[in-house]
């Protein structure tokens, strides 16, 4: 009763709030998003491009803070005040919304066939029958390095692990630069830029990930412990006091030119381009022996779906079809270097660093982060535990074996793979 009243009240305010707009002739679509950083790109580039082609539809981009997005969106959806278009987190968060009936089935949306099944996998039901978000972008992991520093020290870009550690040793011996800018304070750096970055080369990308979901492999297997063993070796190359170094600290250390290598996600490109005063390059996670197949984490990160309670579903679908078009992909990928379009038609990008990242798609095999699909549904949550354990391994408070064992025990407690 109480919640109903509250819902009615909130609904009332949302209707009252939008009447002013509804009276005008144009239809207004609101976009919910956590990407506040992209506000200007939406306002100045994407929305005008759409509105020019679709007179009569106005689009408003209304982001909230990343850490509050999920909770705020949930509350707005329950209250009926959420926007027409919803930016989708990958996997379970969005699947949950779809199951609750908050998101519309978009399988038949014109333009959905522009995407490969892997691209769509992040926003599909487990059986792959219904798609509920249009894939927008993925991010690729690798290492960004300070080219000036490499030139000064006469270093060659490493392709194998031995070369990688040889390079780190040389930078450390020289002493001008911190070999690697990464901290463990925020935990996720260690997991996302560390474990998920170098891991796919060990567990062979999609093969290992699928086997883990099927239950054929365990996190305690050699292929899954080995990345932790490598992470443990990173410790001496990190900066002084890395235990209390936060993610912005790492970014600043690198862009100020104090560190030589930055374990990165491609989303950094935009920021680094504006802040760093030196030339940058990138290399994919090194493989064991020269000539080995390389695997990269090409993680589906952002999609966009349609609020089932939207009052203008037809206009919203028109917008989503445009989001699925190569036009959108070109503007988006160039405005946000580092967020790579998942569209099957190749997109021409201007930024050299972004080009370097995306070129790996050609020579390496792509996979997504191992913990994201299905495996993070229960308690303890595998992704969150991976953050904690990756940081523990680098800090030296857990051995690689102990960390892997903890993760597997936690996973076993709720996950029973279908045999």
């Amino acid at each position: 009763m109480k919640t109903k009243l509250l819902t009615a009240l909130l609904l009332g305010t949302s209707i009252l709030g939008t009447t002013g707009i509804a009276l005008a002739e144009d239809v207004t679509l609101n976009i919910e998003s956590w990407r506040g950083d992209d506000l200007t790109i939406w306002k100045d580039k994407l929305i005008p491009a759409f509105e020019a082609k679709n007179p009569g539809i106005k689009v408003v981009f209304a982001p909230s803070a990343p850490t509050e997005y999920d909770a705020a969106l949930g509350a707005k959806l329950t209250a009926g005040s959420a926007g027409d278009l919803i930016t989708c987190r990958p996997f379970d968060k969005s699947l949950e919304l779809f199951k609750k009936g908050n998101l519309t089935d978009l399988s038949a949306l014109p333009g959905m066939d522009n995407f490969s099944p892997v691209a769509k996998s992040a926003w599909q039901t487990d059986d792959g029958k219904a798609s509920f978000c249009v894939p927008m972008a993925s991010v690729i992991h690798g290492f960004i390095y300070n080219k000036d520093a490499f030139d000064k020290l006469g270093l060659k870009v490493p392709t194998t692990r031995d070369e990688f550690f040889a390079v780190l040793d040389k930078i450390k011996a020289d002493g001008t630069y911190i070999p690697m800018a990464m901290g463990t304070k925020d935990l996720w750096e260690a997991a996302t830029m560390g474990y998920q970055n170098i891991g796919p080369n060990y567990w062979k990308g999609e093969d290992g990930r699928a086997a883990l979901i099927k239950g054929d492999q365990k996190l305690t297997d050699k292929d899954w412990v080995a990345p932790y063993e490598e992470l443990a070796k990173w410790k001496p190359y990190l900066g002084d006091g890395f235990e209390a170094q936060t993610y912005p600290d790492s970014q600043n250390l690198f862009t100020l030119g104090r560190a030589a290598i930055y374990p990165a996600g491609s989303w950094e490109i935009g920021l680094f381009n504006t802040q760093a005063q030196f030339k940058m390059g990138a290399f994919p996670p090194p493989v064991e022996k020269a000539g080995d197949t390389c695997y990269i984490s090409d993680h589906t990160d952002i999609g966009m779906g349609l609020n089932a309670a939207s009052k203008h579903p037809d206009e919203a679908k028109k917008f989503l079809s445009w989001v699925a078009s190569p036009d959108f992909a070109t503007i988006y990928a160039n405005a946000l270097p580092g967020f790579f379009s998942l569209n099957s038609s190749p997109v021409k990008m201007e930024d050299p660093l972004a080009q370097e990242f995306v070129s790996w798609r050609g020579k390496c095999k792509s996979t997504i982060r191992s913990t994201y699909q299905i495996l993070s549904r229960g308690t303890p949550n595998l992704e969150n535990e991976t953050w904690v354990e990756s940081a523990n391994v680098i800090n030296g408070t857990d051995t690689p074996e102990a960390a892997a064992k903890k993760l597997q025990t936690g996973l076993d407690s709720w996950y029973k793979p279908a045999k």
Partner: protein, 309 residues
Amino acid sequence: MAVETRPKRPIRWHIGVFLAPAVLVYTAIMILPLFGTLQLSLFRNIDQSQVFVGLGNFRTLFGDPNWSVNFWNALRNNVWFFIIHMLVQNPIGILLAALLSSPRLRFTAFYRTAIFVPTILSFVIVGFAWKLILSPIWGVAPHLMDFVGLKSFFTPWLGKEQYALTALSLISVWQFVGIPMMLIYAALLSIPDEVIEAAECDGVTGMAQFWKIKLPLILPSIGIISILTFVGNFNAFDLIYTAQGALAGPNYSTDILGTFLYRAFFGFQLQVGDPNMGAAIATIMFLIILAGVCVYLFLVQTRLRRYQF
């Protein structure tokens, strides 16, 4: 015996009218949500519908090692958080108040304000400022320690399992030391001069005067402060969240009941929130605080002697 008929009292309706606004507001925003939480903790979401499970959530919380290990860890950390406040914040608060109430001290108003300012700062500012101060890369702490030759004692405190919680407790102490100071200061000022003069006539001066005369007189205030600290600490969340994030790293070493509740209730990253388990944790927190307050009310406060001047 003649039965004396008392004059009939008029209904004092104005009491009800004057109480109504506070009672209504308090009921709507405190009492109802409290019972809502208690109710929520007895249900579980099974196939998109709320099913009554009795104490099932509490059995999970205490019986399932995936929950209980985290719960006991959070409770242990919370107790340590409280102990630091009791051992550091309150004695320092009393000391500062005693110094401030000394008639010979100049610039009292300035000190009082300066010490109280952190209390009115936002947690976000405090968390961020201290993260910067203690940062091994840009922080002033390592440089200042270098000046006095103590650089070797510097470690990245907030990033080390064994120090992080203590460091955060001390930051919290720094922020809130103004509150016990103000309360005790007020209590010290309310001690009548006659009592002090009588003590001086009897030759009780200086430290002895503080221990034998003033301290017993401010004991009730100290009791109130203790209980405020207790309630505040077991409800704490903001500082840990702003300084260490919801995962309360490193390795859950700074996880307290508030952050544990937050993760369970709202979820975090890929973890989907579970309002029912969250409500169960909130209920336990409520019971812990209730028990603490009861112990104080029935065992401590009744024994405190009050002096009327």
